[in-house]
Each structure stands twice: as C-alpha cells, then as structure tokens.
Symmetry: C2
Subunit: 506 residues, 2 copies
C-alpha cells in the first residue's frame, strides 16, 4: 500500500477523510487563549505533531493556550511550548526542565493536581471547560469513534467535553494494538455511579473513545514513536532501597499479613520504583498484579518471568526495546493488560476497595513521616504530585522511597527535621524506605516515628545533627516536637552554601 | 415496673441475664495492657460507667489500656483516664484538656487518624487488634444482638473483632430509639465489597450489631444521659463567616453550578459549622441533605424548618434541649435519619460518589491554602484531624472556615505565611472562609491563591506584614514563594511575646 492508502485504511468513517489536514493547519485552528485538552500520559500517547506545530506557530505569532493533559508529554513539546510563551496555564502534571523554569518564574500558571481529580474539577465546573481536544489514536472505526494508543489519561473525557476535536492518527502504532483499552466518562453529580471494579481485571467501559463526529474538525497523520523512557541501571543506592523494601514484604508474608501474591501493586515512575518492581522477580512472590498509573519495563519483565499475572494502568511508558517487545508479542500480553482513564486508574474508591500497595518516590521526608513530593527548597516546583496522593491516601500500604542523601559528597539529606513542603501528611504514610533502612510507621505516635526514622533511614553524615535537633525539640515538649526557629536550617544552609552539611564538613 | 423489671425487659436473650454485673466488676475484667475498643463518638453513645470505673480502678491500681473509640468521649472520662495514668495509647481522636496535656508531654501515645481509617488499620493488622470491647446499647434482642444508641462509630467492628465484650445498657435511651442505625463490617482484603450507597438515604446494613453471644462477659446497666453539646450563641465573627459562605452558595446557585438543594452537606463540629448550617434556614435553599459524621442541633433545626429532608451521620451530638426534642418527637425524625459506622459515614468512596460539600474548621491556614487542623505552634496537639481529611480529600467542595484573628486584641492571626503543621495540603482545599471574606481557590496557581487569600481572608491588623512577606518571597522566585528563614516568624513571636503582633503594636 502507498503511504496514503495506509493512512486512509485507518479511517473507516468516510466523513473524516475529507478532514485530513496537516499538523500546521491543525495548529492554526486552535483559538488563541483556548483551553486545550490533549492526550498524553508520562510521554505515552501524546500529540506528537499538532502541539509541536502550535509551539512553532507561537514562535511567530502571539498566541497561547491553557493546556490540560493526562500527565507529562514526550519529545520537547512542553519545553517548546514554554520557550515560545505558548502556555497560559498548565495542569495537572509536567516533568520538563524548560517548562519548570517558566512555572517557577511565574510565567506559566501551573495547577498541580491529584491526577484523579482533573476530570472531577472539569466536570463540576470548578475549572474552565475544555474547548479544544487533541487526541492521539491508532485508527477510527465506522462510527467515527477513535482507538487510543499507549495511554488513555483524560482523553475519553476531553473527547466528550470539547467543542472541537483534532484526531492525530499515529501510524507507528499498529491497529492491532487494541483490545486493552477501557474507556468511560463519569456521570455528573448528583447521579454519579458506582465504579464497579472489584478486581484488577474488571472492565467497565469500551475499547474505543466515543465522540460526536460533528465535533471533529481535523484528522492529522503522524508517524513518530512515543519518546522512550530512559531507564538507568540500578545503582548501589537504588539496589539497597529495593532490598530493604523486598525484605519487608518477605517478612509480611512470613508473619501471615500478606500472601505471596501480596495485594495489587502501584509504583511511581522512575528508577527506584522500577528497581523495586524488578526485584520482585527474585523473591518468593507469585501471581502478582498491578493496579497502577504507569506500566514500565518492570511490568513486562514481571510478566515474562511468570511472577505477574495482570496489570492495569493508564499508560505504557517503556524503553524503545521494551516497546518493540510489546508490539511484536502483543498477543501474549494483550490478555494481561488494561489501560484505563486516570480518574479510574487513580480512583480513591477502587484503590481502597482493592487494597493497593502503593510505592512512590519522595523528594524528602521528615522525622514525623510528612512527605514532600513536589518542591525543592520550599518554593521551586519540580514535577508535581502526580498520582502519589491518590494512591497514598487510600492504599492498603502507603510506602515512600528515596535516597537517604544524594549529590556530591551526599550534600543533600532527604530526611529532614521538617519538610519544606507537605504533599502527603503524617496521617497518610505507612512505610518509609531509604538505602539506609526502612521505617514501619504503622500505629506509631509522632515521637515513636521520629525514633525509628532517625535510627533507620537517615544517612550517617546527618544522623547526629538530626538526632540533636529532635532531642532538643523534645525539651520544648509537644505531641510533635519541633523548634520552629531551626526547622528549616538544613534547607537554608543548602541555599547559602550548596550543601546541607555544616561548613567545616563540606 | 420496678427498676429491675425495666432492666430485665431490655434483655431478650436469657443467657445475658446471668451476666449482669456492676460497672466496677466489669472494669475489673479488663486485663492490664489490653487494647480496648469502646463505643462513643463526639460524646454520644459512649461508655458512661465501665470506662469511668476503670479510671477509678487505675487510681488505686497500676493498670492501663490502649483505648480506641469512635471519636471523643463524654463526661470527664478521657480526663479521668489520663489523670490516673490509665492510658498507654489513645486513638483515633480526643478533645479533652487533661488528656491533651498527657499527649503533649508524651505520657499517652496518641495516634491521630483519619476517622474512616481506624477499622481499615485494625482489619489489616497494621495496628494491634482490639481484644476487649465496651459498647453502649439501648437493648438486646432474642439473638443476643445489640441496639446502639446515639452513635455507631467503630462499635460494629469492635463487637465483631474483640474476644470479650461488655454491653452497657443505658436505660435513659428509650428502646423505641431504633430503626435509624445501619450497622455493617467490611469484608477483608482481597475480597472487599463495593459500598452500595448511591444516595444519602441508602441503607446497606442492619439496625442491630451482630455479635457472638459467647464473647459477652458482662452486661452493665447505666442510666446517664449523653453529655450534652455546649453550643454558644453565634458571635459577630461566626455570623460573618456564615454570611460569607452562604453568599458563596447563593452565587453558585445563581450561576447554575448548584441547585437549591446543593449537594449533600458535611459539617465539622463546633459553633462555626453550626452557625453556617443554621444560616441555611434563611436562604434560598430547599430539600437539603446531609452526609456527615456528627448531626448537631442545626440538623434538627433544618428538619423543623422544612429545609432539610434527610441526614446521615455516625452520631447525634446535641444540646440537652435538642436531645429531648428528638426523643419526644422521634417518630417525626425517624424516617429522616441514618446513623452509620464511621468507616461508612466517612468512606472516601461514598464521599466522592455523592459529591459532598465539606465544611470543616481550620486552626490556621496559609497564603497558599495549606490547612492545619491539629497542632498549636507546630508541636502541641489540640484535638486531632477527625474526619476532616476523609471529607476534604474526596469532596465536591472542600471548604475550611476559621476566624481571621482571635484572642485578646486579635493577638493570633489564623492566616499565616506558612502553617506550622499541615493536615490538608494545597491540593485538597477549594474554598477558605474567615469573617473577613472568602477565597475561592479553585483552579488557581499558588501565587493566584496567595493574592486572593491575602486580599480576602487576612485580618486587617496582619495584612501589611503578610503582604510584605509575600512580596519579598516573590523576589526569591519559585512556584510557591517562601522565605524559609521567616516562614514561622508569626508563630515564634507568639511563643516569645504572647502575641503575633510586633511588640510596638501589642
């Protein structure tokens, strides 16, 4: 088939064939100041041509949009949009260095949301409605309905809510990559329905995204792979974190609190979470399942090892090797996978019902178990809270992992007297893990937590000073002893000297 | 009937008649160091004789227990237990000055939990199991099952989980006070069921608490009313808070975001929440409903005014006048009420499904919308988080109210650069209200939030200094501008001088 034949073969709804346009033409259809809802969740299934074309348009023309996605985008899209001043507002998540700079200098208004809540807030009218949707699809059926690719995110809602829709058909994704999607849109208050998911395998929606074809104003073809995940090899610290956590699970099994299947796993994105999940391959685990947001390489390694039987998520974000492994062997994985909208993958209702074991990465945590997932130095946004709060609050076990200390000569301690920003409160954190050890906080009062966190999790270079803080704070009394005059001394010292260590030790 | 006849008439299960004992005898059956689960939720339906008798026993004997309740207790029970060193651990809530002192000097290990989560943590084995239960009931049926009184709290779970049970029959509560309870116990993981509540009126359990009669080791009679709620008359500030919030609801109705029935209301305990609810009587509202924890006088005033049609909670905590109004007119209220276990009244699943409007009281909040509900000065526990987190996280609207400033000469500002303890993060707070005004934070970035909070909510005596902090923090940049060196200056000044105002202004 010619390129054109291949393209037309992906559109079974004739009316759309007249609407095929270029990415540039599509980008020109986006009204200035529009609220745009775009597919894409941690680099998977994002708009690879239209949003980049809009960034190029903004380089030449004074136009900007408010952009809502599932989560972060691939390529350099967020960077290019930010660099060209094309973003008014951005939500609910991002992970790009250029955009981050624009957020931190207040050029872009970033609204950092629990990933389950964007649809809630849109549907309730708490935030301005999505006018314009851009959704990546693999193909279009006879009804004009679209088949999503490697993520669902908020796409089903955007398609239902937007007045105008651009479909971006990615011919890199085979049309056979289908059957794993489960799309639905929640009913409005006061008639919200039960989410009838009782196991990780339960399907409640449709494989395609339903939409009103008259809203489709353009179909754009692209042929670009998802930006691959960059997974660095586990290092000494991530391996130690993984071992500490796996030992905990083995002990929970030994004491009868969990079976060898544990309970459905959720894991945040990144190398620590990936190392922990990969570690399950060698342990006494069997018939593991996931109910998570992002399915990474480790999920497919667990399938291949026979340790995992099913995984539910909102996106597949993997390395290029793993991507081809999935596509080439799709029939073997197909029955073990579901991709869901993020208001379902991250639904508090389902997370509590299934009893999820949630493993997420902290930027820093404090001696009482409060966790900072978003800010550096109390004021600078890093990436955003993502789904960590959706899971941590409602999980069977809420686990946060981080290195005890990092950077040159361990100049940053990630365990501190007080976190400089709280994303997960002491009420919502069960287990903390660093390369130094693990603190099981369940059922402990704040002072008991401080003892076990300082003893088990703090890097040796900081242990004396943090213990000294805690001992002196106790003299002032209180349920949660603190010395407010000194609570941020580590952060202040870092901002002044580039190290959290006292000057003589640097 | 004689007193004895009246008592025996309340026990339809003959085996228990042999088990009638005194409160002192029952207190002597509680093993030293036992984990005791006791009924009682915000002073309603608590153990009025056995726990007080245990406190007396502890005055003479070296015994102590870990005590888990629904929420706070009535009479001076928590105070007497604390004063007599009878508590090892206490959870999930308390509101007593004497106990608070013991918590803050670390004599009692207090675990401050989301009220929905105590049963979760017990059932998962995260905390030590309940061995001994003490549950207030109005009567006992032919199967030995018990009928709770003015609260349910965690009682149904305690009865199912404990090895030994003392039933405390309160003859002050008429046996006709029945039919409004809806008891159930969640199934264990991995077979947790859907909570099939789709409207505030839905019943999913049984009117009685099921238990194994062989576990009942004593039946104690009491004849003591619930400690009445003390409701002070609305003052200038609570009235202003109420007016500001009611104006917001009227505007939401006018713009079509809500109907005159709003959505089911939850309100925290206390005079501000009560004033707000009472304020609904005079507004353009109709067919209001509640899905809350504590039903206060205002609920019954709303019934009587015809403005409210149904209320679901976990306890009825009212003034003595209102208590008698309910008992004397029970038939008129009976079909409008359900009392539920607190893992159901506060279930994240149900709160999000019903779309609750949650109104809770803050101790303080900061310019970015973080809320402190528990600690004074960063270290001293006040009462606990209660159910505010269960509701705030999952509500349709999460609203926090407080006075802009309080105490002599408004020496305490309740709006601050940074809260000294975070219980509800910026991600979970939609609307903040003080007597000065209302800040609608929906969809705003942190800097936008700061502008509206400083402009609308801060007391005039503190406005210049807080604005100055914010303006100087902005010069340092960041998504959430802060000056960590000064973030707690208000708290530090208060602890040093007794006022948050600079010395010259005191």
């Amino acid at each position: 088939m010619t390129k054109e034949d291949i393209q037309l073969d992906r559109i079974k709804f004739d009316d759309y064939k007249k609407k095929i346009i270029s990415a540039e033409e599509a980008a020109n259809l986006i009204p200035n100041k529009a609220v745009v809802g775009a597919s894409g969740f941690t680099k998977a299934g994002d708009s690879k041509s239209v949003l980049p074309a809009f960034a190029q348009r903004a380089a030449k023309e004074d136009v900007a949009i408010s952009l809502i996605t599932g989560a972060s985008l691939g390529q350099t899209t967020d960077a290019d949009l930010a660099a060209n001043h094309a973003l008014i507002r951005r939500m609910p998540f991002q992970a790009d260095a250029v955009l981050r700079k624009s957020i931190n200098n207040s050029e872009v208004k970033y609204v950092d949301q629990h990933l389950s809540e964007t649809i809630e807030q849109l549907q309730c009218g708490h935030i301005a409605p999505v006018e314009f949707a851009i959704i990546e699809a693999s193909h279009i059926d006879e009804n004009g309905f679209i088949y999503p690719t490697t993520s669902i995110g908020n796409s089903a809602y955007f398609a239902a809510a937007a007045d105008k829709i651009i479909i971006e058909i990615n011919t890199q994704v085979p049309t056979s990559f289908s059957g794993i999607h489960d799309n639905c849109v929640p009913s409005k208050y006061p008639n919200r329905e039960i989410i009838p998911i009782q196991t990780v395998k339960d399907r409640i929606g449709e494989n395609f995204i339903r939409l009103d074809p008259s809203k489709v104003i353009g179909v754009v073809f692209t042929n670009i792979l998802d930006t691959p995940a960059q997974l660095s090899e586990p290092d000494v610290k991530t391996t130690a974190i993984s071992k500490n956590l796996l030992k905990f699970f083995v002990e929970e099994i030994e004491k009868g609190a969990l079976t060898k299947s544990l309970l459905p796993l959720q894991a945040g994105i990144g190398k620590v979470a990936n190392a922990v999940l990969t570690g399950f391959i060698d342990g006494p685990f069997e018939n593991l399942t996931m109910y998570s947001e992002v399915l990474q390489d480790s999920t497919f390694d667990l399938f291949d090892s026979g340790k995992m039987t099913f995984a539910s998520g909102s996106s597949i974000t993997v390395t290029e090797d793993c991507y081809h492994r999935i596509i080439d062997n799709f029939e073997t994985y197909k029955d073990k996978l579901i991709l869901r909208p993020q208001n379902i993958s991250n639904a508090p209702e389902v997370i509590r019902r299934l009893g999820i074991i949630a493993i997420n990465t902290a930027i820093e945590f404090d001696i009482y178990g409060n966790v900072n997932s978003t800010h550096i130095g109390g004021n600078k946004m890093m990436n955003g809270i993502g789904g960590s709060g959706d899971f941590a609050r409602n999980a069977y076990l809420s686990i946060f992992v981080t290195q005890a200390a990092s950077k040159n000569n361990n100049s940053i301690s990630h365990v501190l007297p007080m976190v400089s920003h709280v994303d997960h409160t002491e009420h919502d954190v069960d287990v903390l893990v660093t390369d130094q050890g693990l603190a099981d906080l369940r059922g402990l009062s704040p002072r008991e937590r401080a003892e076990v966190i300082i003893e088990n999790c703090v890097h040796p270079d900081y242990k004396n000073e943090i213990r000294d803080y805690y001992e002196r704070a106790k003299e002032k009394g209180g349920h949660t002893p603190h010395i407010l005059e000194e609570a941020f001394n580590f952060h202040i010292r870092y901002s002044e000297t580039g190290s959290m260590k006292p000057q003589q030790e640097k």
